[in-house]
Structures are given as C-alpha cells and as structure tokens.
C-alpha cells in the first residue's frame, strides 16, 4: 500500500457506515418503492411496467379529494398550531425567568410521556357523547342533551394540533430566546407599537424557527395515521389511510407504492413552497 492511497482508503472506510446506511435504509427502499409503483397489476400473477397506478390516482376523484383534503387539513393544522404556539413560546422565552420557565416547558412536554394512542384515547374520553365534557355541559345546564364532539374534521385538527404542539414550541422558544431584549426595546423606542414590533422584529427574527416548526408539524400531520382515523370517525379521509389500505387490506402494493410516492412529492412541494414564500432556505432553518 503506498502512502498516497492510504488516506483515501481510510476516508472510504470512515465514510462507509454512513454511505451504507444512506444507501441501504433510505435510497434502496425508495428505489424499490419506485419500481413497485410503476408496476401494474393486470391480472393475478401478471404484471406490466407502466404509469397506470399513477393514472389511477388521477382518474379516481376519491383519491384526489383525499389527497387534497389531507394536504389542506395538514396546512390548517400547521397554521393553528403556529397561532397557538407562538404566544405560548413568546411567553416562555421572553416573559418568564428561571423556575417557571422550566415548569412551563415541561408542561408542554408532558403529553409526550404517553404514547400517541393513549393520548388520542384521552381525547376520545373527553369528547365523546357520553364523555366528560358533554356530561359536564349537561350537568351545568348548558346543554339539554348529550353532545357529540368526536368524529368531525375539527376534532381531527384539535387532535393533530395537540400532538404537534411541542414540535412547534421547541424551535420557537429556541429562536425567540436568541432574540436579545434590546432589539424589542429598540423597536418600541423608535416608535413601534406592539403589533409593529412583532411584525418587523420578533417575527422576522423567529422566521427560521417558525419555518422549521411548520415543516416538522406539517410533515407529522401529513404522515399521521392514528389521530385522523380514531378522531375522524366515519367521514375521516386521510391519505395515509389510503396507503395503508392499499398495502394491507387490498394487497395492492403497487398502488400503495404509487400513493406513497405521491405523498412524498406533495410534502416536498409544499415544504418547498413554504420555504420560497418565507424566503428561507432549508439549511438555515434546519441548521
């Protein structure tokens, strides 16, 4: 072995685990998925290569609707989460000091000490017709019959927002904490009011946190399966449910793979659009 090749080999060996990992766990399954998605099932045991599975998606309005619905509800969830999480994060990052700050932060973390299934069941216990809130409203005389709060789109959004909250709060608190108080004071000192200081100084500064929080929350919502199914009830339509159905109950892996790819494209497009709109780059927000 010559001296020249030695460091090269060393580098290769060093990089090997990472490359193998990337290749085996990320690239390979996707290639496999793609190959599967362009395989059409013509008849039992007869397959052809083609884009029929994608064609099926565009031909069947149900798939389209579910796809669009999932995207819109995920965006809505992201917006609602942001609107709720921003004041909370601002309060934690800028108004509180010391102990209270830690306490509030842990409170945000608390729901994550149980699994998503248990959390969702918790919501079901609260919101169902014979549940706690309905019973309480009747007891308080605010309702004269049981109220069903489950199985609506609003419930899905509530459940998703609850599940996603922490993933928005953490990046927001981090970026807001890095904003020196003097910037806010300067904003007021130069004539700004609460609104303009927020708009011109706090939000632009927090933009990387906002965008990264939004990306994470959006992805989590888009890819969520349990919450929309359990809270959504009979009218819930979620795209992951379609993928699951194609793979597991229809044995139609080819269609499922195509759906999986379409979901990947959708999320990439929306994230890309969001980055463009907010004039952020991925490396800025994730770095």
């Amino acid at each position: 072995m010559t001296n020249k090749t030695a460091p090269k080999l060393g580098l290769i060996l060093l990089m090997a685990p990472l490359l193998i990992w990337l290749f085996a766990l990320i690239l390979l399954p996707h290639v496999d998925m793609f190959m599967l998605s362009i395989t059409e099932k013509v008849a039992p045991r007869v397959y052809e290569t083609g884009l029929g599975n994608y064609g099926e998606f565009f031909a069947e309005p149900l798939y389209w609707n579910t796809y669009a619905r999932t995207a819109i509800m995920s965006i809505l969830t992201t917006i609602v989460t942001l609107v709720i999480a921003f004041p909370v994060s601002y309060y934690i990052a800028k108004m509180l000091r010391g102990r209270m700050k830690a306490v509030l932060f842990v409170l945000c973390l608390l729901p994550f000490w149980v699994s998503e299934l248990v959390r969702t069941f918790g919501w079901m216990i609260l919101l169902r017709e014979t549940g706690i809130i309905s019973t309480f409203l009747q007891w308080a005389g605010l309702a004269d019959q049981p109220i069903e709060m489950l199985y609506t789109d609003a419930t899905i959004v509530v459940g998703l927002v609850y599940t996603s909250m922490l993933f928005m709060v953490v990046p927001l608190v981090t970026t807001l904490e890095s904003l020196d108080d003097s910037y806010i004071e300067a904003g007021y000192d130069l004539g700004g009011n609460g609104f303009t200081v927020m708009r011109e100084i706090v939000i632009p500064h927090a933009m990387p946190g906002i965008v990264s929080g939004c990306i994470v929350v959006f992805m989590l919502s888009l890819g969520n399966y349990l919450t929309p199914i359990l809270l959504g009830g009979k009218d819930s339509l979620w795209f992951t449910e379609q993928i699951y159905a194609q793979f597991i109950t229809r044995f139609n892996w080819e269609q499922g793979a195509a759906f999986g790819f379409l979901l990947l494209i959708l999320s990439s497009l929306i994230v890309w659009g969001g980055l463009k709109l907010s004039r952020q780059t991925l490396s800025e927000t994730m770095g």
Partner: protein, 360 residues
C-alpha cells in the same frame, strides 16, 4: 492504525455472525403468527413442558398476516393462522405457503366435516394448504331492549336506531349486507361482473345508511367501548364480542341475523419458508387435544375444530352459544368460500366510495 481498524471491524463482524448462528442453533423455537387468544400462556407453557419447544407468538389479523408473509416471501414465521377463505387466493398470487403433509396431522382429533371442508377450500393445484383450528361467526351485537327492531343487517339502516349503529368498513360488512338484501354474493364469486353488480347495490345501500352510523369501528376495544357507553345499541360484530359484553350487560348479546350469520374458520398454514416444520405439526396436534382446545376456547371465546372439546368447554359459554344460535340458525350459517383473486379490488373501491360519501 488503519490495520487495527480493519481488524476491529472484521472482529466485530465475525463476532456478530457467530452470535447470530449460536442463537439459531439454540433451543428449538416455533414462531407463530396468529390471532389474540389462540395461543394462551398456559398452553404455551404446557407445550414447552411436553416437547421442549419455545413458542414465540405474534398477534395479527388476516390482512397483516398476508402482508407480512408477502413482504418476506413467506419467511420469518414457522406457522400462520389465516382464515380458510383467504388462503387460496393469496397462495395463487404470492406463493407464500407450503403444502401440508397431511400424514403428519392426527386427523382423528378434528371434527371430520370441518377438516374436509377446510381441506377443500384451501386446495390449490391439488395441494392442501390448511387445516382448521378455531371457528366462529359474525352477526349482530344488539342491545335487545333498545334495538329490538333489528333482526337483520339491513335493519341497521332503520330510523329507530339512527345514530346508534356501528359496523366495520371491511369485506364482511359487504357480504353480510348483500345476503340480507336477498342476494347471494358467494354464488357470484366466480362471475366478476355479477359480483360487481351486487357490490354496487350494496354500495348504494351503505351510502344511504351512512347517516345512521355513529362510527365505523376499527378495533374490538373501540366497539366494546361504544356499546358499553350506550352510544351504540346495534352493531355488526363477532360472536365473541357479543358474548363478552353479555357477561357485563345482560341485555346485550350476539344475535344471528335472519339472513344468516357469516361463518369463518381460522386455520393452520405453513409459511413457504418455515424453519421449524416438525415443531409446527407438533403444535397443531398438541392444541387439537380436546382439553387443550377447551383452554383455547376459554381464552379466545370461540369454539375449535377439535373433536370432543365441547365436553370441556365452560358451561356459561355453551349457554350463550345456544341462546344466540337456535338449531335452525346453525344450519343457516354462511361459511365463507375461498375468495378468488381480484374480488378484493372491487370491494376495495366500494369501501372507498362509501367512506368518501357525505353522510347527510
């Protein structure tokens, strides 16, 4: 330094592979892919005592079983328990099972008619792929006071039970509704066009009926909770669910619908790449002993194909069974024939459209 690194990596690899082989070479293990309750702990313990074989149980359902075995080409498990109607189609399309060596099965431990029926239904290219284990039915779980009007599946769409109904959005619902609408979907299994026509009628009915539905249940526990809370008074479900609820609430029980309960049989089938075939046969013969079968019945709530196990079954379970199934109803059970490949696509689209439709 580089050399030592290479040595280290090689060492690790060798170590890992030695460890892996050692693991395989250790105590004999039977990896069982089955349903909840079909391999209770005490039975597993008895089996280990008698044969020295460990049983590793993975709980699943029909669809997941097929998906899992398909993903690995039939490896990863030594014995699976799909329903008899789901074997032939999956075998034909994906070749995930291995034919049974019937000589290794103690046929005298089985109820003859059930064994023969299952053998017939699971035969592909002249080879038998399954033997029966547990059987049961699906029908109606009713609150007999509040939903007394419900006699058949279609009655779930009546105004009297509006908003108090739950069923699954799965193929048994389609089949059940078809029968209760006076059609015979099983007879149309081999006529795709006819079957599609039946299904489109069922689809229309289910869309009409959607307003009546509280929620489409997805898991047994969710359904139980709905019935317990009184939010649902009439549901389409398995017999065991009804009997379990009956223990808690006297007026809730399983009722065979007028058009007939749907009968299913879960089987034993060998995955194509089973690694412990002998252990699998040993397990089959072991659990078909009447006493052991009765233990499984007690755990799962359903009866088995074991001859003579009735004697050992708990009295209250027998009583519930008899009250749900007067003699005429037993004859009326519609046993699922094997599903020909391709029907699931038709059903899938129907289910999708029902799900997507707006309930008033």
């Amino acid at each position: 330094m580089l050399k030592s690194k290479v040595k280290l990596i090689t060492g690790l690899l060798v170590g890992a592979s030695v460890f892996a082989t050692a693991n395989i070479a250790g105590a004999e293990t039977l990896r069982l892919l089955t349903w909840g309750g079909y391999a209770p702990k005490e039975v597993v313990a008895l089996f280990k005592k008698e044969t020295g074989i460990d049983v590793k149980v993975t709980k699943s359902n029909n669809e997941e079983m097929i998906a899992k075995l398909r993903a690995t080409g039939g490896s990863g498990f030594d014995l699976a328990q799909p329903s008899q109607d789901r074997i032939a189609g999956a075998q034909f399309e994906h070749e995930i099972y291995k034919p049974m060596d019937l000589s290794k099965i103690k046929a005298d431990r089985f109820i003859r008619s059930m064994l023969e029926g299952t053998k017939k239904n699971t035969t592909v290219d002249g080879k038998v792929y399954g033997v029966p284990h547990v059987w049961g039915t699906s029908g109606l779980v009713l609150d007999t006071q509040k939903a007394a009007s419900v006699k058949d599946y279609t009655d779930l769409c009546a105004a009297g039970v509006a908003g108090k109904v739950s069923y699954r959005l799965k193929r048994p619902t389609l089949i059940g509704f078809a029968f209760s609408m006076g059609m015979d979907p099983f007879a149309a299994y081999n006529d795709k066009a006819k079957y599609a026509e039946i299904m489109s009628k069922v689809e229309k009915k289910l869309i009409e009926c959607k307003g009546n539905v509280k929620s489409y249940w997805t898991g047994g526990d969710a359904l139980m909770n709905l019935v317990r809370s009184g939010e649902v008074t009439a549901a389409m479900a398995w017999d065991t669910g009804g009997w379990k609820l009956n223990k808690e609430m006297a007026n809730v029980t399983f009722v065979a619908p007028k058009s007939g309960a749907l009968g299913w049989i879960d089987t034993f089938a060998l995955p194509a790449k089973t690694k412990a075939e002998d252990a699998a046969y040993k397990w089959i013969n072991f659990v078909m002993q009447p006493k052991i079968a009765a233990m499984i019945t007690a755990a799962a709530g359903n009866f088995t194909a074991s001859k003579g196990a009735d004697e050992f079954a708990a009295a209250d379970l027998k009583k519930r069974f008899q009250s749900s199934f007067p003699a005429a109803d037993i004859d009326n059970i519609k046993w699922y024939p094997p599903v020909p490949a391709g029907l699931e696509d038709i059903e899938g689209k129907v289910l999708d459209r029902v799900k997507a439709s707006k309930s008033n």
